[in-house]
């Protein structure tokens, strides 16, 4: 009897470390975040007084709606770019081609470069005085004046481009492994029916890739919404707030203005926003899979 009870407890014992980590790093902080957002707290989280919905007032200001809009542009353009480039690349790499192993290795490299170093390297590559891209474009006679990639006008587009650079390999890996699971007979049959090229891709490959695309897209969406280090290292949110995303607003509110309550309100909003989108994406996907 004792032995049986012990065996029943075994899986829970194996799960204890994982659960402890999740409680310590996610559950308790999220709970604190929630009450911080309705309170006045000092920098290290000591309670001063309740604040009702005062901390949430910032969410209806114009500055914030602008930041939200900017973040949406960042997420949507970034993901669209990642999907466009990633899908084309995955298709190019899918079937045997001389050197495929080597190219597959190299194509993935941006994924293993930490965000901060990617940011530092790209800032140097794109700088307007003697960055290699401007040098190249000037030498080729394509431009007369160096382009200010990190100036107020182009900064957002530039960081989106770097986001795409960093995000493409993840999608390529997901799609490549999904493409491997498409049976050879499917292609044979399609060939016999004369469905080739674009038609084949649209009617056969794409529907088969959809579940993986939705799953990877959801994860990429959640990550994009809250990427901090990449943009912060390159622009710090500037120039003139041109690249101030939600994550940078949270950081600045909390650790530069010392407004923990305000930062928590934005964080709670972000968390809910991302969860709702993720939930609907996944739900639609699992419905269609049935």
């Amino acid at each position: 009897m004792n032995l049986k009870r012990k065996r029943k407890a075994l899986p829970y014992i194996f799960l204890v470390p994982a659960i402890v980590i999740i409680i310590m790093i996610f559950a308790i902080p999220l709970f604190n975040l929630l009450w911080y957002s309705f309170a006045k707290v000092d920098l290290i989280g000591n309670f001063n007084s309740w604040a009702g919905f005062n901390n949430y007032k910032y969410l209806v200001t114009e500055t914030f709606t602008k930041t939200l809009g900017r973040t949406m542009i960042w997420v949507v353009c970034g993901i669209a770019g990642i999907f466009l480039v990633g899908t084309i690349l995955a298709l190019a790499l899918n079937k045997p081609i001389p050197g495929r192993g080597f190219f597959r290795t190299v194509v993935i490299i941006p994924w293993v470069i930490p965000h901060v170093f990617a940011g530092t390297m790209w800032s140097w590559v794109l700088n307007s005085t003697n960055g290699i891209v401007n040098t190249l474009l000037l030498d080729l006679g394509l431009i007369k004046e160096p382009i200010s990639f990190l100036g107020a006008e182009l900064a957002l587009a530039t960081v989106i481009f770097i986001r795409i650079w960093k995000g493409v390999p993840f999608l390529v890996m997901s799609l490549l492994s999904a493409l491997q699971t498409i049976p050879a007979e499917v292609e044979e049959a399609a060939k016999l029916d004369g469905a080739l090229g674009w038609k084949y891709f649209w009617h056969i490959t794409l529907p088969l890739l959809r579940p993986v695309m939705v799953m990877s897209g959801t994860i990429l969406m959640a990550w994009s919404f809250t990427i901090f280090d990449l943009v912060y290292v390159i622009t710090g949110g500037g120039p003139l707030n041109a690249t101030e995303l939600l994550s940078i607003t949270i950081y600045k509110k909390a650790f530069i203005n010392g407004d923990m309550g305000g930062a928590s309100a934005i964080a709670i909003f972000t968390m809910l926003f991302v969860s709702v989108i993720a939930f609907f994406l996944m739900k639609r996907n699992s419905k269609e899979a049935d």
Binding site: L33, L136, S174, A267
Partner: protein
């Protein structure tokens, strides 16, 4: 007819190579540029260069001598290796439970694991800062490592569970007859077969630990706990010469690239293990 088909294959190859090569150039451009710059003497930095003209390897010696590069590296290694070790132990245990046992809350736990992937660090860091202060864990290695483990843990659990599922349980049953405990069976029988999956889990969590920026920046303050990421971004902010910054960056990206090259055989399967379920 035959010739037409051959032409088509060749055209197909050209288009595919074009796509691949354009991407490879873009993918490697920043690394290539960083490398050239890391070898350029300071007074030549303004020069236009598309290929390396100078080989000032002393930049590397200088950046190590003039900046706390060793300290940064040491902290980064502690964060990355610490994250990997904790993540691997925790996820092996959890994945084994999920794969071999039937118990209440199993589905709920799986859903929880999938869900924590989308909890962002920037959301957690504010309350974690308060929490680490009130528990006395502020400015310790362990608080950063534990926080990174939480960010790293989901994928390895899903990946290892998938791998364990594919291993037949007859071996363990035989071991159980010989009086081996479940933990013993896991360590002696399952783990040796699971080396590919464990390698992947190690690589993935190492990348996460090496990438750590926000947590070491906010949750620590003493100089010895500054990671490469935080150290280099500060160097950039205080206008350190770019050739030094690039030497530092090259040093900083070598470990993840090396680990990737060693583990890459398993990585592609590994990373996507969770996403097709």
């Amino acid at each position: 007819m035959k010739r037409k088909r051959r032409n088509k294959t060749i055209r197909d190859y050209i288009v595919r190579y074009l796509v691949i090569i354009v991407w490879v150039v873009i993918a490697l451009l920043p690394i290539y540029t960083a490398f050239i710059t890391s070898l350029t003497p300071f007074e030549k930095l303004g020069e236009r260069m598309l290929y390396p003209k100078y080989f000032a390897w002393e930049n590397y010696a200088e950046v190590v001598a003039q900046t706390p590069m060793w300290e940064y590296l040491k902290a980064s290694v502690i964060y990355a290796v610490g994250t990997s070790i904790f993540t691997i132990i925790i996820s092996i245990l959890a994945a084994y439970a999920l794969s071999r046992f039937r118990f209440r809350f199993k589905v709920a736990f799986m859903m929880l694991i999938v869900a924590i992937q989308v909890i962002p660090q920037i959301v957690i860091v504010t309350p974690l800062y308060g929490l680490s202060n009130s528990t006395g864990l502020y400015d310790t290695y362990i608080v950063v490592v534990l926080a990174m483990v939480a960010s790293a843990i989901a994928n390895p659990i899903l990946l290892l569970k998938g791998f364990f599922d594919s291993i037949s349980s007859t071996l363990e049953e035989a071991a159980a007859v010989d009086g081996c405990t479940r933990l013993g069976a896991l360590v002696k029988i399952i783990l040796p077969i699971s080396l590919p999956a464990v390698t992947t889990a190690f690589a993935l969590s190492f990348f996460t630990g090496w990438d750590a920026y926000l947590y070491p920046m906010i949750l620590t303050s003493s100089p010895g706990k500054v990671s490469m990421t935080v150290g280099l971004s500060r160097m950039k902010d205080i206008v350190t010469p770019w050739n030094w910054i690039m030497s530092g960056t090259i040093i900083a990206i070598i470990p993840p690239i090396l680990i990737y090259l060693i583990a890459q055989k398993y990585l592609i399967e590994g990373l996507t293990a969770g996403s097709d379920k």
